[in-house]
Symmetry: D2
Subunit: 346 residues, 4 copies
């Protein structure tokens, strides 16, 4: 920790703060600058509590931690990238994993058609919402258990793993029963009871970054899941909220190399939710591959104009196929870059 | 709805879109502009679904709703301001209601001391967290049921109503058992299962705006609660996330008059979470009263430097008392402005 | 400066960084933590250059300055609040100074009417744009010198000081010739040649915070003006850009107490530009007074519906008069709080 | 224009608004909805003025324009992509143009070394600042004319075109004398007198998006330049300001396909300023090529640790060479995708 004393802090105040820091089990180094005194605290202890306590002193300007606030998810803790198996796909290894499917499971016919189209074009994981988080209480809220069953059936029929969102602790078990991977949506990125609950389940988790979650907060939310017992977490950047209105959100694509440095967990991107516009997705998808994400999630629907949700950002089956074909040479380059030994790679 | 067709949309495309809108039960008015065709849709129907469907057509530039997406919380639906009783306090009426207490309930001695200080200075509702949402899994997570009991005991001892946060559907009943008012925290503003659950409970709810929730989203989240049966919702602006780092968040104080126009629900402010700094709070509190909020929530602790959470933004008892005394003439002006009949007032 | 070395930095790298810092004239304190080494640098030197140089080393995680990057505008440099005379008004002293007038000077009749209304209601400074920054090249760009003359004439006729915006270095002299105070608009907050130019002029300057300028950047821009010779700078918070769309911008009202701690310069607020909506302004204005700003700028127009710019946020003369009357008791409280000696005040 | 009347607007108010719109030369269509009346205005006229006038009526909820506020820069006005020659490079055609060089021109030796390295690795345009916009008045402000001369000399020696920033109207001529392309920096994106001045010069302009400029505002700023006579404008996305602090800014990479739809002007990216971190740039650069930008600007310096500005984001010569080599297969794919006829391409 680095503690900056206020200008004009007295000798007594400085000593009192040092004493307090030592009581938390740290060694202190007091440095007298031209303007002010700065105290460095070294050692192991209850960092957050110490920071807040010291920061509460009126004579303290700021108290800042130096060490990372997370542990298990950090690349220092585990230098090798984590690989996560979902069905026959392995995320974080040598394939660019595409997850696709409708926003919501609507009917058996619809989800079956999606599964067929996804499998045919080279997707590996079928997505489809059964419990839907909707901004308005008057919007379609999902088929619930019936949707889970249909999704499972479609995945099995076309040899695809399936992923679906879980929104509340009371549904974790039933979603885990039907689904190969659990999705935590952007709005639940700091729903801590839910993070703890999926931490206790034997299913990989895809954790979406919140609309205004910092990268550090995303990692701390992943740490919740891992610390509660589940090491299989895939991070997903899906657009953050800014002042720009031409797209639904702004895709923070730089988060991929940033996260690759900070964590060993796989990172995927979701250009459908970030752009919100079908016709932009194929161009963005190329960048998603090129920057070295571990995979991508998109939406596809037999008839987007009739979709019960997210139609404007859903690809048609033909559009999805075209995009997947178009991505092939980029994925070849992606694979080549994965051959470089990790230590050298970044 | 107003639908803007893309430039160069053909007659067939326009007719097809009009037909589709009519199938949703709306009447259409097609307006041929210099540049493009705009279609106005009038009537009653499933707006969201229609908007998404129409917006999914490649020939459509944008599809925008005109009517408000919420109903029960709107001031059109209920022009008179809602008044909500919590213990002996009435929020939204002729008193400026101050809620205060520690961030977390820590010990019986601590919460008792807080209750005494809050009551003595003129606070009406005692706050104190028993279940704490913490960014890091390694931070103190609250005393849980033991905390609820201590809070209840302290409130009863000093004749204060109590409010505390509920973080998950499985805890709604127990929190409602001990607490006079349920708090939904900023991170749960779009935790829809939780909103539905508190909508089914016979306890007023204070709903905090999320860090990046728009005012419209806040109202839609309130609509979830009201639509599920609970009309007693107080909205709380507590700072939004921006690029500015001198304060923890930016207090969107303009949200008060904006919300007063849009909704009949009471609105309070939380200058402790917005600023994150104890010494700024008294000055901000004056503005909270002057702008006409229905109340305010702040934090106070017997010894902020030893607080288990949020010490830097907690007022000492002396500081809380001084602020409350300082606010008196502002509250007198506030009361005078409330005498103006509502119709004339804004 | 505090320099955090990367995890795993070698002894040689640490020594090399220390050597480099010493070459810049600083003393170094190297602190070996559990995870990493942190280096504190103490002394006087070319901070920015040293920070960038050290931060450029691949073995360095971050390099952060502790001391404030500005000098003359800081409250350490000059603890007493600065008072700035503009005509007969004194900003930063014992009056709450209201600047008002139309967005643009349009005609002699219009600006004369405005001046009369502003003076009658108690405003002290007449505003009116002669050179207008407009987002679109096709919008009205101002009457230029003719506008300056009319503004001056109107101010003189009603005994008001006048303020108007200067947009480019080539106009500084002419604007200074006609105007008592120069306004630097939000879009020019980092137009450094312009800041230098107004720094060389004998006229007080009102510097508006940019839409996404941090408080620190605002102070650095003020430092440009002061460092080039002009100590009379008034800061103006006028709303920042966020994701929220119900108002034109979000008024960062907390910036007032924050700035009062950081700088001795006066601070005013502009609720017209922050809200963009006439009917919200009176309620917000109360908060502007209560939080202790040194003044306020608003827009008023004889007929907002015919204004050549900013009509929706312009008050009618009647509306302006009503607001000023309504503010009187708040201004009385404001004056009382100014009687408290500065040392005790904040 | 679409005008939404407030709920409860009277027949007289609606008629009066319609009359006013007609006075501006538009035809009106009044549509009576379930909740409110909406008025569509069709025709040609002074849109901004009309919008502001109508929006100023208290009975009007909102007044929104449908047509684009810019003309010359729109893709409707000119469907074919604009190609801009700078020296021997052509931006917007069939080469991915890389601009590179130091943040600031420091010495003849330094800029000569940079030019050699840039040319050797395949860069086409040499960048280097002679007038530097610096947040602090105490930071290095550039070599000014001496810097321009050195930059020109280095460009000529290695057969590179040169680009440098112009910060104020009084320097436009001298910068145009030495430089092949003028750069307008992010902080000047709405410096309208400067935009007009470069609009009158016979040199292509690279216009950087401001830190919080919307895409629409960027296009309007480009429209200023084009409307004043200079059709050769290249747009540059260089990161926008958000709440995220791990990188200097967030690269809004989606702006590339969005701009490609809205405008015929070329679009380049600047991953150095968006990330602020040297080690992230090569990975981001791949995405810049893959998404189909027309080029890229980066910084390179013989010894970043001794750079007078922006060292942390400057590539070493070896790093720049390695990145350029690494990009080759991506650029091959880029070229292949450019062979697709424009009409089909997007």
């Amino acid at each position: 920790m680095i503690i900056s004393m206020k200008l004009g802090a007295t000798k007594e105040q400085i000593e009192s703060v040092c004493k307090k820091i030592e009581d938390f089990g740290y060694r202190v180094h007091s440095i007298v600058g031209e303007e002010r005194v700065v105290i460095a605290a070294v050692g192991k202890g209850d960092v957050t509590h110490c920071l807040e306590s010291i920061g509460s002193h009126d004579c303290v300007e700021s108290a800042v931690r130096i060490s990372a606030p997370y542990k298990f998810v950090s690349r220092q803790y585990k230098p090798d990238r984590t690989q996560i198996s979902v069905g026959k796909a392995v995320i974080g290894a040598d394939e660019f994993v595409v997850m696709a499917g409708p926003c919501s499971v609507e009917t058996e016919e619809q989800i079956m058609a999606c599964a067929e189209a996804v499998a045919a074009a080279g997707g590996k994981i079928l997505r489809g919402g059964a419990y839907k988080p909707r901004t308005s209480p008057y919007d379609f809220q999902g088929l619930e258990e019936e949707g889970l069953k249909l999704l499972r059936k479609a995945g099995d029929a076309y040899n695809l793993a399936v992923i679906t969102e879980v929104m509340t602790v009371t549904n974790v078990n039933i979603v885990a029963e039907y689904s190969d991977m659990l999705q935590i949506g952007a709005r639940n990125v700091q729903n801590f009871p839910l993070l703890k609950a999926v931490g206790r389940v034997d299913r990989p988790v895809m954790l979406k970054r919140g609309l205004c979650a910092t990268i550090k907060e995303l990692l701390l939310s992943a740490e919740y899941i891992v610390a509660h017992g589940n090491p299989n977490v895939v991070l997903c950047e899906r657009g953050i909220r800014t002042f720009e209105g031409e797209t639904r959100n702004v895709l923070d694509i730089q988060a991929v190399p940033v996260l690759n440095k900070m964590t060993h967990l796989p990172v995927i991107l979701d250009p459908a939710h970030s752009s919100g516009k079908r016709d932009l997705i194929p161009q963005i998808a190329r960048a998603c591959v090129a920057i070295g994400a571990d995979g991508m999630m998109v939406e596809t629907h037999p008839n987007p104009e009739s979709a019960w949700s997210d139609g404007p950002q859903s690809l048609t089956f033909a559009g999805f196929k075209k995009m997947m074909d178009d991505l092939k040479p980029y994925i070849d380059l992606w694979k080549a870059s994965r051959q470089v030994p990790v230590g050298v790679r970044s």
